[in-house]
Amino acid sequence: MPKIKLPTKSPRIDMTPMVDTFAVILIFLMLTTQMRQPEPATVDTPFSISEKPTPDFNTMTFLISQDDKVFLNFDNGPDTLLAFRPKALEEMGRRYNIEFTDKEKREFEKYPSSIGVSMQNMKEFLDSRDNNDRKALQEGIPIDSTDNQLANWIVAIRTVNPNVQACIKGDAETGFPVVKKVLDILQERNVNRFNLITSLEAAKINLEEIQQ
């Protein structure tokens, strides 16, 4: 009996449903995503049981790195038309007799992550196009008592936005003295309420433990 020879044909997979699924996932991710801003220093926040989410606006965040550098980040507030960032820079410029151009202010406004540049280097930082040059200037904001620029920043930010809340983001391994110093500087400027940024961790106590 002769064998029936089936025509050999490569199988064809219809990719259309797969494309549909991917499109859905992609749209979902694109809508929910918040781009992770590259911070000038990597910081692993400590854990706590607090479930309060970070406020989206009216915050000034002090990033304290492991090597005791202090970086500052603050946002524009609920209405971006108010543009607090360039105003704060202008205020700081007035204190240090530095005139910033509109272009530099715009550059400062849209800088996406924390800034740790001293006022002396600020102009160079904002004018520089190269990311590596910028990175080299991120030496942390001076907090010495002789040149306490952080304190001036706090005053400048609060002048332009009185509703600002202080957030502290430190690495779990950051030494305590520098944190204490930042807290002291804030307290000297009558900021007594702080938000410590942490990651969520579950912890529970049960009744039996207490009744023992």
Partner: protein
């Protein structure tokens, strides 16, 4: 590859007639591209938003002649000192000068750690009544015995804390070799154990020296200058 396009061998001599079938679009490159984008978005997305822990520190007394530090009862005071190497040193009440001079530091300062059997047990022992009331209340809310909204539950708990006058008053101090993680951990323990009254204060010179003696650190120049 999903499809290998085979060349059709045309019959030689016959009249070529275009085959009628639906135009077929190869989706594979599109899938590849989407995969790439999805991978990119998944890696850059920060899914869990960072949480915050609120802390209110007492106002700094700027003029000691006009304002006096608030007085608290020594029997309820629990001093917690964050030491080096994730250790916690603690003592109750206050330390008198003759005690400090005569007793070895091991008797004055007790040492514990951040484990659940360490500082948490210590705080819970001292805060039994309030901690039990808060935990019972929270369980009743969770099990639905008390129909109450999340906000009013929180304010009820904070009212319980304000009304409480049996729990300890915890003074948190930090030795200079402690780290920020310890600070957050101890504040977290306060929240876990439902401590009503706690604050962060500066470490005193004798406490610094006691920690140094207890931990076996040779005192540094900055410590003796204080």
């Amino acid at each position: 590859m999903a499809e290998i396009i085979q060349e059709e061998k045309g019959k030689s001599g016959g009249k070529k007639r275009p085959k009628k079938h639906l135009p077929h679009i190869d989706m594979t490159p599109m899938v590849d591209l989407m995969m790439l984008l999805i991978t990119f978005f998944m890696l850059t997305t920060a899914f869990n938003k960072a949480k915050i822990m609120e802390i209110v520190l007492p106002e700094k007394i700027k003029d000691p002649t006009k304002q006096e530090a608030p007085r608290i009862s020594a029997s309820r005071t629990l001093n917690v000192i964050l030491g080096p190497e994730d250790k916690i040193y603690w003592y109750t009440g206050n330390i008198k000068l003759e005690e400090y001079n005569n007793k070895p530091p091991a008797e004055l300062l007790r040492v514990t750690d951040f484990s659940p059997t360490g500082i948490r047990q210590l705080l819970l022992d001292r805060n039994k009544t309030l901690a039990r009331r808060i935990t019972e209340f929270k369980q009743e809310v969770l099990s639905g015995k008390i129909p109450i909204s999340q906000d009013s539950a929180t304010s009820y708990v904070s009212k319980m804390k304000t009304d409480d006058d049996t729990g300890p008053i915890v003074l948190i101090k930090a030795y200079k070799e402690a780290n920020y993680g310890n600070f957050v951990d101890i504040l977290d323990e306060m929240n876990i154990c439902g401590i009503a009254r706690y604050t962060f204060v500066d470490i005193a010179w004798y406490e610094e020296q006691m920690v140094e003696k207890a931990a076996g650190i040779t005192p540094t120049a900055s410590a003796s200058a204080n």
